[in-house]
Amino acid sequence: MKVYIRHFLQKKGWKLIDMSMIKTKKLTFEYIHRDEEGNVEGITKAVDGVDLDIKEGDFIAILGHNGSGKSTLAKHMNAILSPSEGTIYVAGMDTRDEKNIWDIRKNAGMVFQNPDNQIIGQVVEEDVGFGPENMGVPTKEIWQRVEESLKAVGMYAYRKHSPNKLSGGQKQRVSIAGVLAMHPKCIVLDEPTAMLDPQGRKEVIRAVRALNEVENITVILITHYMEEVVYADKVFVMDKGQIRMEGTPKEIFSQVDELQKLRLTVPQVTLLAEECRKAGMPFSKGILTTKEFMEELQCLLS
């Protein structure tokens, strides 16, 4: 009920503080394996009793190695998958309700891993316009939105190009613009950088951070690259469908041993600082960037 009142007030234009963007309660998703006759062979819990509360405007990172259930969780946020047990509310709407599906997808955009498989248009600007076209936005406004979104990700100069001629990082930025043109409150990025080279990864992460900081869009970044997590407000670490760790990047990265147990590699600087600390040098825990490391090192030397 509370959720509906909040939603109602928000529609009236009220700015509510501390609104939950995504909230899950005991969210569970099961993959059922069947043999050839259709008998149940076994059940894998891809997501197992996850409780999350993501506030509007947050930059959230979800970490986990392959098969930890992070992509399955992401697909729930866009109502592509429906939970087996438990509930998930996106912008106050229950994803299990068929009526809500399209509203949820307008509110929570999704960017996938493979840039080639999510670009629909044959020209960059047409692809960005695809979402608004589906939503029935008037032609004039579509053009405005396309221009804004392409500018926000720094791809406006390429608007007339064919997506096939772009680099991976550029394609992924076009995909982000495509989601942005739908004016979502929240963007879920499911390993957007997994297929990119280091340069492309940087471009995409920079674009994502800008969206969060400038446009105040809630970002949920799913990744297994630890370097990308450094700027997040909050990090969740998943393993076997459950959330094992949560906290600020600093808190998470100060537990190097724990992370390595979950088969995750910490950033090299953090690892170096940790090794130095073990060897007796008084470095503080959870150093994330080279800059921090250098500052502490200079303090120690002087």
Partner: protein, 273 residues
């Protein structure tokens, strides 16, 4: 290697014909083809020739470019012409063994060749001046009335444009798989034709598997962006007739009337058949 293949050879130029609404060009091409097959006399082909020369001039597409399109049908043209020349019954001019060259045969071969050549030139002029995208848009809009008899017009045009978008991607993928198989000693080049076709199986299977995976991903991405079919959808680039489009329609109408009237009442014949 496979990257060189292009579909729909669009020729970039700034001309009136390029700027025409795709619907006008589609309707025009159909009208033009109809006139080609309506009568069997010289008059109609002279008029069609005049029409072609005029539109080609307007389109700024080099003639050599258009003629290149004819290369593909040269063999077909020769074979059908030969068949018509020697197998048409009528008054023989020369005959040997079972074949005889007849006046009727010469006329039939001549008309057939002209029709085919004009047909190819006319339709390739359309594809040369219209991007594949505009073509699908035009087709969708022209076939819209078919929606009433439950033809999924929007879905068909969506499939067409997605297919066009994925051609280069699948080409690249084929190239990659080929190289991967070649690295493991697959041989695609030697042997007779049966051997070559058999060698393609290890290429096609992974290609099919991966395109299904792509299709699945794409469907998910489209749904995530609120795609729910054609209903309630707006257009980013809606087709709108301009003044020149109406003029072009008028011109087409004049062409049709002139072709029909002259073709019907002032027929010129070759060889009096």
């Amino acid at each position: 290697m496979l990257k060189d293949i292009t579909l729909g050879q669009y020729y970039q130029a700034d001309s009136v014909v390029h700027k025409l609404d795709p619907r006008v060009k589609l309707v025009g091409t159909i009208a033009y083809i109809v006139t080609l097959f309506m009568f069997r006399n010289l008059t109609i082909y002279l008029i069609a020739l005049a029409f072609l020369v005029f539109t080609i001039r307007l389109s700024k597409v080099p003639v050599s470019f258009i003629v290149r399109g004819l290369k593909a049908i040269v063999i077909l043209l020769i074979i059908t012409a030969l068949f018509n020349l020697f197998l048409t019954p009528g008054e023989p001019i020369v005959s040997f063994w079972r074949f005889s060259l007849t006046y009727e045969g010469i006329a039939a071969a001549f008309y057939l060749a002209i029709r085919l050549i004009f047909l190819i030139i006319g339709s390739s002029l359309m594809t040369l001046t219209t991007t594949p995208n505009q073509l699908t848009d035009g087709l969708e809009s022209l076939m819209k009335p078919l929606n009433k008899i439950k033809v999924p017009v929007h879905e068909i045009s969506m499939m067409m444009s997605i297919a066009l978008r994925f051609i280069p991607i699948l080409m690249e993928e084929t190239d990659k798989i080929m190289k991967a198989q070649m690295a493991r000693c697959a041989d695609f080049e030697s042997g007779n034709i049966i051997k070559k076709v058999k060698a393609l199986i290890p290429l096609l299977v992974p290609l099919f598997v991966s395109s299904f995976r792509r299709a699945n991903d794409l469907a998910m991405a489209m749904e995530a962006r609120c795609y729910q079919g054609g209903e309630g959808r707006t257009k980013m680039k809606p087709l709108k007739y301009q003044k020149t489009d109406y003029l072009a329609y008028l011109f087409l109408l004049v062409y049709l009337i002139v072709a029909i009237v002259l073709g019907k009442f002032f027929p010129l014949h070759i060889l009096q058949v």
